[in-house]
Symmetry: C2
Subunit: 303 residues, 2 copies
Amino acid sequence: MAAETTSIIVDWGTTSLRAMLVDAGGKELDRLETPHGISTLKAGEHENALMTALSPWFSQYGAVPVAALGMITSRNGWVEIPYVRCPAGSTELAAGTSRRLLPNGSDLVFLPGLTDPARRPFPDVMRGEETQIVGHGLACDATLIIPGTHSKWAGVKAGRIESFQTFVTGEIFALLMTHSFIARGATQPPVDDPEAFRWGIEEAKKSNVMLSLLFSARTGGLAGELSAQQLRSYVHGLVIGQEFRQAQDAGWYCEGNRATIVGNDGLNDLYMVAAKAFGLDIFLGADDVLNHGALEILHNALS
Amino acid sequence: MAAETTSIIVDWGTTSLRAMLVDAGGKELDRLETPHGISTLKAGEHENALMTALSPWFSQYGAVPVAALGMITSRNGWVEIPYVRCPAGSTELAAGTSRRLLPNGSDLVFLPGLTDPARRPFPDVMRGEETQIVGHGLACDATLIIPGTHSKWAGVKAGRIESFQTFVTGEIFALLMTHSFIARGATQPPVDDPEAFRWGIEEAKKSNVMLSLLFSARTGGLAGELSAQQLRSYVHGLVIGQEFRQAQDAGWYCEGNRATIVGNDGLNDLYMVAAKAFGLDIFLGADDVLNHGALEILHNALS
């Protein structure tokens, strides 16, 4: 395969560097991962870390365009790239990239994150999810849900990401399961209990008093009605259920509306269950959207 | 002072044993604290730990009635005392006590916690706050707020605690400040910033989308609008504000209603500010209510 039809996508986060070698259609040819996340690197060490990580592919293909995204473009990364403002599509995101030449002649393109300046009290931000959304496609107006530590709900309109909103569901869940008194005593190792998850969803549907509802993780045990084995999935249902309830309150959907789940953070099955419970007409998008989106923005930036 | 007019209140928790020597009117004459919380004791060790802790007072006064409350009466304590059910006043709580004789002839009375069986999805529970409420007084119908790690809102009606509800505000705040990514970077040691607290309250008034609102602790910093010094108090305002908003949704008050803050967990000033912001006609109760309540239930149990 010729170098001009091959590209590299580098998803460079806090604790690791993941790289994907893709063909012109975004198909993954190879992948590698190193522990050289940005938290392990000092100023001036990034280029070497990247060249070392990618050297097997550079040896084989010579100069290859590289798209880098993730925390690498944040304040604590290599180069801080300003957020592009909503509404934005592939063109606007490409215009917000920053380009430099690597020692072997490869183009390195830093991809920007996205901000929604209309959110209150402060502009909302995403870094990586906008690339996944581009990979999913912007041709059809849609409501998209990208589950994660900080879940995103996004609206696509007229070929661009029109607006989005963050829900810190995954982080609250992790805090509760790892450090809280409320959800102490869950079976270890973690057990997935689909029925307990649905139970949590149903309770979340009944109450918007979240600070009180969370205490049911404890009172359920005291009442002898919620077992240690059910606890984790029940709490997961409570918080994901609250996300759907609050997203509805925030105007993201009405019952019977259509929405699509994008990305692949291991939560899609649970979000499908929750979406159905809240009356959404829900679809599951492709899960390899990051590569496709990064490639599209990369080509746009280099063309 | 004669032994018959002196009593001892033991607030025996997970990590410590606090004891108060009080006169017949509930006035505190002396207090002591030992690190012998229930987590440090095995079955069979409790009586010795108590006798050792109280020996200075027993030497001076001989046999003295002792009321014990807190986690000592929980499943992991010395004697598990079943929760008394709402509605309950001093009489019902006294009927739920359990009594035994200490080696020196002192009556030891274990005080029960309280459960509200009407709460969904599971009965709510308190252990200690019911004693504070009795100490505050049940003569007037009232809405009471007892701030804490797990705040309680309680309704007093016709001389009894009619119902109550828990809000896990304090625990969520602690999780966010200690372990979260959202609120990382707050100034250490903690800074109290009254203006930032009010700001958080105001934002909580504007939005019931709590899982999204919490992310403003992070986006405020990214936007350069919320400083590391403001972060802690701002987040405290967000979560306490959410408690008041959700308590209103749960039917605990309407704007202009009267409520009283009971107890002394170091949060009363903040709760006063929040209550005023939410339009409550708010009063601050006495802060030595635990001793008075325990004494009343103790006398009731022994009479």
